[in-house]
């Protein structure tokens, strides 16, 4: 297959596809590939060339997997040419956060103590993507241990601070930092991230892309690094909400190797849904009490987004999160479970090799929690979970900003969040604690041309609701079509 509109790359000596092609969505790329208007090999070569050129400028990758990618792309091209099309991800390139095991390649968890770590098998999600014919082009940089032992700046990574493609003096947010930068910069059409408490949503919001945290248990975590077993999730970061749905339909499914995997018949996710809800039936609750402070421009952008949905038939009304120690329960759960997950690292003293001064010692403090306290907070968690679930009797989705601000500078002073009052109702903490699906999509820009995001949270297992709300918004706006000024 030979694609139209190619340009020549001096460095690679290849005919590369134009930038506008590399910013197409998964759906659009898949349609062109299936129609044999786009060569999988050329597409892969073009993303690899762009990744080689721009990836180091952004600190976006832990490593590229060029040899594997070209092997997969060649195989896919032959299959498709022979009339065997596997589905929407067939031959579409992607990157994976470097906490997911890929056989034959380093899996560093973004941390110096694991800089040479390799696994002799691939994670469940990689198995699924291989079966779907997807093309892995690289492993995305990340915050060390995905923030599992704490961190205070964006520099807390084996690969250095990840730079935001919209302005390289700014951070991408973490911990799926590289995944956010890669998609935003057009180095791949989608990337896999992980989210224990906001690590997909924040980088997606700050990088101006669409990122989704699926319901807890929908995607197997077998072969992925653990932080907190009762809160860890894997999910897609892409250009559009529709792409998140397409990718999730491949990732989702029961896996007996992950004890928290939803049962067969529940874990699977079909996209699009057979009975897609009409806009008129969409009930949206605008959360009014979740952020202690919010950028006024962001507040304006989120309200503007909800007006778009209202105009298209959605019913919007204000709602408050009832009081409760959500944030305390979320953070304590992570602290205690991470102390177990990284017990060997803490006991060995090799946590001292972590880049961040918080990560170097935090595990020692977390070992001091009692089993009684852990069980108490898990019992409180059950109560909070029921309390939040009741909100969805009246709403299909809850809406608020993706984060409370646009991106922060990379050289910002160490975070002081824990010194202030506890932000008890931060939406990331609530939805992560309760295993709820959430998505953020771009909805505007800060005056400094940094992206803003709007977030939709749904009832547990109602992943379709959050995708439908975001997709409806994107049907009538083009914020997701904006490209950062990076070349």
């Amino acid at each position: 297959m030979k694609s139209r509109g190619v340009v020549e790359s001096e460095e690679w000596g290849l005919d590369l596809l134009p930038e506008e092609t590399l910013f197409l969505s998964v759906r659009e790329l898949g349609d062109r590939i299936r129609a044999r208007q786009l060569s999988p090999v050329e597409l892969t070569e073009s993303y690899l060339a762009r990744s080689s050129e721009l990836g180091p400028k952004l600190n976006a990758y832990a490593c590229l997997t060029g040899e594997l990618a070209l092997r997969q792309a060649n195989a896919a091209e032959k299959e498709i040419a022979a009339g065997h099309y596997r589905g929407p991800l067939h031959s579409v390139p992607y990157a994976v956060k470097d906490l997911v095991a890929v056989q034959g390649y380093p899996t560093t968890w973004g941390a110096r103590p694991y800089a040479t770590q390799k696994f002799d098998f691939s994670a469940a999600v990689i198995e699924r993507l291989n079966r779907a014919g997807a093309v892995l082009i690289g492993k995305a940089a990340m915050i060390e241990l995905a923030g599992g032992l704490g961190y205070s700046t964006g520099a807390a990574s084996l690969t250095g601070g990840c730079k935001n493609p919209w302005n390289t003096d700014y951070w991408t947010c973490g911990s799926s930092s590289g995944s956010g930068a890669i998609v935003a910069a057009g180095l791949a059409p989608w990337a896999l991230g992980s989210d224990t408490r906001g690590s997909i949503l924040c980088p997606s919001a700050w990088c101006g892309i669409s990122g989704m945290r699926p319901s807890f248990g929908r995607v197997s975590r077998f072969g992925a690094m653990a932080i907190a077993w009762t809160m860890d999730k894997l999910g897609p970061m892409a250009r559009t909400a529709e792409d998140c749905g397409l990718v999730l339909s491949v990732l989702a499914g029961h896996d007996a190797r992950d004890l928290d995997s939803l049962p067969p018949g529940v874990a699977e996710f079909a996209y699009p849904a057979a009975n897609r809800a009409a806009a008129k039936s969409l009930r949206i609750g605008r959360l009014t009490n979740v952020w202690r402070e919010m950028d006024p421009g962001l507040d304006f952008a989120v309200n503007g987004a909800l007006k778009v949905l209202e105009k298209e038939g959605a019913r919007i009304s204000d709602v408050e999160i009832p009081d409760g120690p959500y944030e305390e329960a979320a953070e304590l759960t992570i602290l205690i479970e991470a102390a177990s997950a990284f017990r060997d690292l803490i006991a060995s003293g090799r946590c001292a090799e972590l880049a961040d001064p918080v990560g170097q010692i935090n595990g020692y403090a977390s070992e001091e929690f009692s089993a009684t306290d852990y069980l108490q907070l898990q019992r409180v968690r059950s109560f909070l979970q029921r309390q939040i679930d009741k909100l969805f009797d009246n709403f299909d989705v809850l809406a608020t900003a993706g984060q409370s601000s646009a991106a922060a500078p990379l050289n910002a002073p160490p975070d002081e969040d824990s010194a202030g009052p506890i932000e008890r109702r931060a939406p990331d903490g609530i939805s992560s604690l309760c295993g709820l699906p959430a998505i953020t999509v771009p909805c505007g820009f800060h005056k400094d041309k940094l992206p803003f995001g709007v977030q939709f949270v749904g009832r547990a297992l109602n992943d379709h609701a959050v995708i439908n709300a975001a997709r409806l918004f994107q049907n009538y706006t083009d914020w997701h079509r904006q490209r950062p000024p990076i070349h």
């Binding site: 306290d373 019992r379 059950s382 109560f383």
Partner: protein, 159 residues
């Protein structure tokens, strides 16, 4: 996340620079002290989550204390007891600045625990993490998956 620990490949311990790992030189002490000063108000960030924006951070007052402010005498004693235990176990790894930093982390953790411990619960209120008998169902499902894979000529490996 399930993850076979037997597959971990840590950097060999002999490659660790002992000076870096446990002993504190004068230069290191100065560096740690500077870091501790910078982190005087950052006892331990939210784990697995992004830091808050610097704009929010700058709005907070700078009060260089041990983090014990707001705790009762009993709670402060619990913090000190925990710090003593950490020093008993790991004291040879920790600088003065890191011990002070740990006190602030422990104090913050204590503050979070207050609301959890005070939450009214009945004897029958179960924890979110409970043993699921569905393990048997999962095993059965796994076997079905393997049978399905075998039927389709796929290779299935147990790990």
């Amino acid at each position: 996340m399930p993850n076979p620990s037997s597959h971990h490949t840590l950097i060999p311990p002999e490659q660790i620079n002992q000076d870096d790992a446990s002993r504190i030189s004068r230069r290191d002490f100065g560096r740690h002290a500077a870091v501790a000063a910078a982190l005087a108000l950052s006892p331990g960030m939210v784990l697995g989550s992004p830091p808050s924006s610097p704009q929010e951070s700058k709005a907070k007052p700078e009060t260089p204390d041990s983090g014990l402010t707001g705790l009762t005498a009993e709670q402060s004693q619990e913090v000190e007891a925990r710090l003593t235990n950490i020093i008993r176990k790991y004291g040879n790894r920790l600088s003065i600045a890191q011990r002070d930093h740990l006190r602030r982390i422990l104090a913050y953790n204590e503050k979070m625990l207050v609301s959890i411990r005070a939450f009214p619960l009945q004897n029958g209120d179960p924890p979110a993490s409970v043993l699921k008998v569905s393990f048997l169902e999962q095993t059965a499902a796994s076997e079905m998956t393997e049978m399905h894979a075998a039927a389709h000529g796929e290779v299935s490996r147990r790990r």
